[in-house]
């Protein structure tokens, strides 16, 4: 496989995968279970999901390690298993994709709020992220994906931790924005301009946004990112703002709608397109067809 950054530099558009969490629930993840502990209990499920996204045409496949930082695992008393959980998650994806797709080591927020707003010490948080990054990179992740961040300071700690462990491992960093009357901001009040500047300065090689409120907002977010970035842009949208029908959660946007909107993302200058909450291999196949 050619290095991912080289391909992006040549103007290639890459397709990433969709949601893992909602797929895990379909495959029997119970309420209260730690999603990342699937590595320990049923790793075959991780291979099944990777296979489905790989078959749908994703070239970047995420590991099921969104909450596998020691800070998050501590909620389940599993922080001692940080290394094992991350390593197994990487190897499950690797077994499926070989060298035909990039294994992307996912790292989500710590769930803690940094001082002075909350109680978390930046130094402790940094070391927590460092521990997860080391586990992902030593297990052979091709790229690291810091995602769904809302606090720029926290995102920067995660990016710096990954780059300290391995400066040559490419890194994507994405944040989640809400639309406000003043424009797009994270709930912690970070603008796209500030996110783009901060993440690039911290060393991220690819930046952008994930989750959010649907693909149409993502097109607007992508344009804004492009304006403030010198590095490639990644967009992983969820399938719209979920609505509850009875006790079931329905994401309103369809794979067809994603296909319809994908050209606009490409036109906005996005280099990596994938999905987030509510998306399935069908959505990824739809994006794949358009990109091809």
């Amino acid at each position: 496989m050619k290095p991912i950054l080289e391909r992006l530099k040549n103007g290639e558009i890459l397709v990433a995968d969709g949601a893992i969490g909602t797929m895990l629930i379909k495959k029997g993840l119970k309420p209260g279970d730690c999603p990342d502990a699937i590595s320990l209990t049923k790793p075959e499920i991780l291979k099944e999901i990777a296979q489905q996204y790989f078959d749908a045409g994703a070239e970047i496949i995420q590991t099921n390690t969104f909450g596998a930082s020691p800070m998050k695992l501590a909620d389940y008393g599993l922080e001692d298993k940080t290394e094992q959980i991350n390593a197994i998650a990487v190897s499950c994806v690797r077994k499926i994709v070989g060298d035909q797709a990039y294994v992307s080591g996912s790292c989500g927020p710590s769930g803690k709020i940094l001082k002075p707003y909350g109680d978390a010490e930046p130094n402790e948080m940094y070391h927590g992220f460092e521990r997860q990054m080391k586990a992902l990179i030593e297990a052979g992740a091709d790229i690291i994906c810091v995602e769904t961040m809302t606090d720029l300071a926290e995102a920067i700690l995660a990016v710096k931790a990954a780059k300290a462990v391995s400066p040559q491992t490419p890194l994507m960093a994405t944040m989640t924005f809400d639309e406000t009357p003043k424009g797009f901001y994270t709930i912690m009040g970070v603008s796209i301009e500030d996110a783009a500047a901060g993440l690039q300065k911290a060393g991220a090689d690819i930046i952008g946004s994930n989750c959010g409120n649907g693909i149409e907002n993502m097109i607007k977010i992508a344009k804004k990112f492009k304006k403030f970035s010198d590095v490639p842009i990644v967009i992983q949208s969820n399938a719209g703002k979920p609505e509850t029908i009875g006790s079931e959660l329905i994401y309103p946007e369809t794979p067809e709608f994603f296909a319809e909107k994908t050209p606009e993302l490409i036109e906005a200058g996005v280099s990596i397109i994938g999905g987030c909450c509510g998306t399935t291999p069908e959505y990824i196949r739809a994006i794949r067809n358009v990109v091809d």
Partner: protein, 211 residues
């Protein structure tokens, strides 16, 4: 009173040291603790709540304002108790069993305390039994439940069912919130209110307490 306005303004800036000092001065000036609470601290927190609702400010400002509020509140609490002034009412809150997401619930807790309610926070991963038992024992008027996962939402209906079984429905009101929820869902499980954000939760709890 000028000093109460200053307390409110310092609180809005998240300046906990000034709020502490100003509250101390206000107490020394023999202002009633209830007056300081209502027209200083709560008045400031209400403005913060409104601004957050309108996206004029974000979570960090709310968190700092809450810290500042506690700096004043800690001094007022013993005085309020001594004067026999009751809080606006007691509410038990928590994130339902199976759900470990608690940022939303924490925010609601801060805003409720800011509005003058006594909040018993059971934390995350709270069972239906625990909600009902605590509310009953503590004589709380409202149970507030939060969920971020659709899979954990059934715990909410278990709470409303338990209340019915124990003939506590009507005496203990329920309010639910969280990203996957809706007014329809709240209605379908027999909850008394649904709030889509923290500011709305405060409004709803005020109404539920008055009923």
């Amino acid at each position: 009173m000028e000093i109460l306005k200053q307390i409110s303004e310092a609180l809005q800036k998240g300046d906990d040291e000034s709020v502490f000092e100003l509250t101390r001065v206000a107490i020394a000036q023999n202002l009633s603790p209830k007056d300081i609470l209502d027209n200083g601290l709560i008045a400031g927190m209400n403005i913060i709540g409104e601004q957050f609702k309108k996206h004029e400010i974000f979570l960090p400002e709310v968190l700092l304002a809450a810290k500042a509020m506690y700096a004043g509140m800690d001094q007022l609490k013993p005085l309020l108790i001594k004067e026999g002034i009751e809080s606006l009412g007691k509410i038990v809150i928590g994130t339902v069993h199976g759900d470990l997401h608690d940022i939303g619930k924490n925010l609601v807790g801060i805003m409720l305390k800011g509005a003058g309610f006594e909040v018993i926070d059971l934390g995350k991963d709270v069972t239906a039994e625990k909600f009902v038992e605590t509310a009953h024992k503590e004589n709380a008027k409202v149970i507030g439940m939060s969920a971020l996962l659709t899979t954990t939402m059934p715990v909410m209906s278990k709470v409303t069912e338990l209340l019915k079984e124990e003939k506590l429905n009507g005496k203990i009101k329920t309010i639910v919130g969280g990203a996957p929820l809706s007014e329809e869902f709240a209605h379908s499980i027999g909850a008394d209110a649904y709030a889509y954000d923290a500011a709305k939760a405060v409004e709803c709890v005020k109404l539920l307490m008055e009923e």
